[in-house]
């Protein structure tokens, strides 16, 4: 079991979609929203995913496929 923290950003056209619910349904991961700010135009979320590392990888790929931006909780690390 692993537990990884992510900062995800929603573009305007994805705000209405139940992305986190769908990820939880489709992959064997526990989704845990720790902080979020979502408005009608945009939004972000600090999210914890717990599960098998490979399944977390698949869930992250799934999130990206939905069109949301997925960064580690540290955001950009390359300086």
């Amino acid at each position: 079991m692993a537990s990884l923290k992510f900062h995800i950003t929603f573009p305007e056209n994805k705000i209405k979609e139940p992305v986190i619910y769908q990820i939880g349904q489709k992959y064997q991961v526990v989704t845990n929203i720790r902080k979020a700010d979502v408005t009608e135009k945009t939004g972000w979320m600090d999210l914890e995913l717990t599960g098998d590392p490979k399944e977390i990888e698949r869930a992250v790929a799934g999130l990206k496929k939905f069109g949301v931006k997925v960064d580690p909780i540290e955001r950009n690390i390359i300086e």
């Binding site: 540290e74 955001r75 390359i78 300086e79």
Partner: protein
């Protein structure tokens, strides 16, 4: 009680021990160092600072280390240049440049943060340090690790130009080129930092590392004769530098070393990567990630870790955030070189171009004591100005040819 109380969440204020931690387990907010200022007040004064080492370590009492400094002993205390010729060109009366192009040993402000990070990493018992970087940070971590005898890993995207990594390889770190884009490298490094017992300077050591930037503010105040400037212009990449400069000035005020701080803090970003400037202009209080497209690679952070805090600082101090296009960046570099004899990397070009705009807009007033931060040397980004510097004048090997050329040159200048 020791001066280093531990770490504290910037958001929910939950306290943690002074260990290699960086994210609050409760709210996922960033951790920062929690000091005992009463203890610090006893240990430091203007006099002790003035008599201290001629390096950033003269401010050791305000830095997150418990013992004596052991890494990067010659970093910091860089020149504060009174830039009269540049000031005249911009219509300002009192302009200073904090010249970190000559920082030791790798010619950028990163030598400050890395000196602090690696000293702390050694205190915490690490024998391996790491970073993810495309330039200045990798340079500095590699050089300092070599001097400190630490094992060093540098992570880069595999498509990075070879020239960019040569400056690191000379110090013999292990350079790991990751097959993937910048997002992939970011995610991998985050996972490695949680799996390996390494001091990843800008991940698990970040609370300590970031504090090194405060020394730029301390030096600014001391070199100006124990006062804070009216306005500062700071380049924004992760946003950490700007927030820590503000924190440093406020700490000096709190300790009674300088009068109350009324400094306006302004930020400079490249137009091709300006998430903080966009939020500032849109009056948003959060950062929307962007895809960088700029020659100012050292500022190309599309989703900055401290962008929110940088934005908050700018707003609270009455500053501004402006941007510079690529041609304006090159113009900024050449203007700085031609007026002050300082060759800055592209981030310096961004700062000068934004300084120029803020002065023209009246956001920096003519009489303001203003400090602009020049954070890296131009030899690191020579390709950016290659087309802008012109060609040598060619002559035949005789005096007549030389004199003719001189006359022609004088006519052109007249």
């Amino acid at each position: 009680m020791a001066k280093l109380k531990g770490l504290k969440c910037r958001e929910c204020k939950k306290e943690y021990p002074a260990e290699p931690l960086h994210v609050c387990e409760f709210c996922f907010g960033p951790l920062e160092v929690n000091y005992n200022y009463d203890e610090i007040r006893e240990a430091i004064s203007r006099d002790t600072i003035s008599q201290g080492p001629k390096s950033l370590w003269r401010y050791a009492a305000l830095l997150p280390i418990e013992g004596p400094p052991t890494v990067g002993l010659h970093g910091g205390l860089t020149p504060m240049v009174k830039a009269d010729r540049l000031a005249r060109a911009l219509g300002l009366d009192s302009l200073y440049l904090k010249n970190d192009t000559v920082n030791h040993p790798t010619l950028s402000f990163k030598d400050r943060v890395v000196a602090v990070a690696l000293t702390r990493a050694k205190e915490l018992g690490f024998d391996t340090v790491a970073c993810a970087s495309t330039g200045n940070l990798a340079n500095s971590v590699s050089a300092h690790a070599a001097q400190a005898g630490l094992k060093c890993y540098v992570f880069i995207p595999s498509d990075l130009e070879a020239a960019k990594i040569l400056g690191n390889l000379i110090y013999k770190p292990t350079v790991v080129a990751v097959e993937g884009n910048y997002d992939d490298v970011n995610r991998l490094c985050s996972e490695i930092a949680s799996e390996y017992s390494w001091a990843f300077v800008n991940i698990n050591i970040r609370p300590y590392y970031a504090e090194g930037s405060k020394t730029l503010a301390y030096e600014t105040a001391e070199q100006l004769g124990w006062r804070s400037p009216d306005h500062v212009v700071v380049p924004i990449a992760s946003g950490s530098l700007l927030t820590k400069i503000w924190k440093g000035l406020k700490e000096f005020e709190q300790l009674g070393f300088i009068p109350p701080v009324k400094t306006r803090v302004s930020g400079a970003q490249a137009e091709g990567c300006s998430p903080v400037a966009e939020a500032f202009k849109a009056k948003r209080d959060f950062i929307k990630p962007v895809k960088p497209r700029t020659i100012a690679k050292s500022l190309a952070i599309g989703n900055p870790a401290d962008g929110y805090y940088a934005l908050k600082t700018v707003k609270e101090t009455g500053g501004s955030v402006e941007t510079a296009t690529d041609p304006e960046i090159v113009e900024g570099i050449t203007l700085l070189a031609e007026t002050e004899g300082i060759f800055a990397e592209t981030a310096g070009g961004v700062t000068i171009a934004v300084l120029k705009k803020l002065a023209a807009q009246g956001k920096i007033r003519k009489g303001d004591v203003t400090v602009a931060y020049i954070t890296g040397h131009g030899l690191k980004t020579q390709e950016a100005v290659m087309q802008a510097v012109g060609e040598p004048v060619r002559i035949q090997p005789n005096l007549t040819s030389f004199e003719q050329t001189i006359q022609n040159t004088k006519r052109r200048e007249a």
